[in-house]
Symmetry: C2
């Protein structure tokens, strides 16, 4: 994914093994969630014995952090790839949902329950702002007749005064509000859907998601 090419053969082998470890880690996470990820089990699958993995990752947390980083980057890539085709906000919303449904546990790794003591490393926050940047671009380019009407004037005012994120992006406050609401509303639907809170309600989450997308694009 990132460190594939390397100069010395040792480094190349090292990167290769790190990737294989991550591959099996993702399989475990997809099957039973991040909390059930076991280094021992990964080692057994690979065919080495236990402590060998500590040559590649200092500890379990470092491996998980690496996976979180990969997940984040995967979302950022999906977002940017879609935006590069001139996608509007609605298509971005579809891209987000596809990414989430493709691997629910990957979604939860990024947006799920945080571990109390855990501090996200600098690079993940950098990728997060990268994602918001793409989103802001699409919000700024929203249809003029929609862009004129703000989703919430009071929120616009608050953001115009206090926001410190993506400061290089000069954009109308109404676009900031739109990006923020895009993020939180769609996350709300996806999070409840993936957690299974809609099961048994006779509701197609896609319909709810579509309704939210409509509210965000055509005010």
């Amino acid at each position: 994914m990132a460190e594939s090419d390397a100069r010395t053969p040792r480094e190349r082998y090292r990167a290769q093994v790190r990737e294989e470890i991550k591959k099996h880690a993702w399989e475990q996470i997809a099957a039973a969630g991040a909390s059930a990820l076991s280094l021992n089990a990964i080692a057994k699958q690979i065919g080495v014995s236990g402590p060998a993995l500590y040559r590649y990752y200092a500890n379990r947390d470092e491996l998980i952090t690496e996976l979180v980083k990969d997940a984040y980057r995967s979302l950022a890539d999906a977002f940017r790839a879609r935006a590069a085709t001139g996608a509007d906000l609605a298509e971005l919303a579809r891209a987000l949902r596809e990414w989430a449904l493709a691997d629910p546990q990957r979604y939860f790794l990024v947006y799920g329950t945080p571990v109390p003591g855990y501090r996200a490393p600098e690079d993940t926050t950098a990728i997060a702002s990268e994602i918001m940047d793409v989103l802001l671009g699409a919000c700024a380019a929203v249809a003029p007749e929609a862009a004129a009407a703000s989703l919430d004037d009071q929120l616009d005012g608050h953001l115009a005064e206090h926001r410190t994120w993506a400061p290089e992006h000069r954009v109308a406050p109404s676009a900031l509000s739109r990006a923020l609401l895009f993020w939180s509303r769609l996350h709300g639907v996806l999070s409840l859907e993936l957690a299974g809170h809609f099961t048994g309600m006779g509701l197609d989450p896609a319909e709810l998601y579509a309704a939210e997308t409509r509210a965000l694009t055509a005010p």
Copy 2:
């Protein structure tokens, strides 16, 4: 909380110890999250040794399930208590936020990342529908001029056709949509806020929450 009164002194003692176990469990969860909950540590705090706890809870999962159930009931109680005072939708939103901020890990226990294999027991789904019932009541009693305007006609249509939740509650489809959007939008904001995804953005989550509340109450 529930099983305090009992007939025989043995049962009373038993219920008392179960409560003490839960009390320490909540402290641990508030401090380090549910995944870090350790039966051994609880036993040490209480002053008994290890396996004694298995007299009271068959295993770790049963204890956690009990805590989830208590958390659910606590939210339902908070909701119903507020609704009993004739609270409108906005006040219900405030009650939800207060409940969430009072103990973030308790919120995550209910609405956070689910364990893949886990099936919610029958009673929790019953409590969940109890919560939705209170919410539906408030949505049905929303201001007439607001109630007339639907938040999303297409979603109304879908729900009128397919919904199977709270079937005893006969209410306009627009109220169903409103309840659903109330739930998912506010959860979106709270979930991101409690997970710390707004930190460093120079944004007061309360403002975003208020904006969503406005959108839900005054269309």
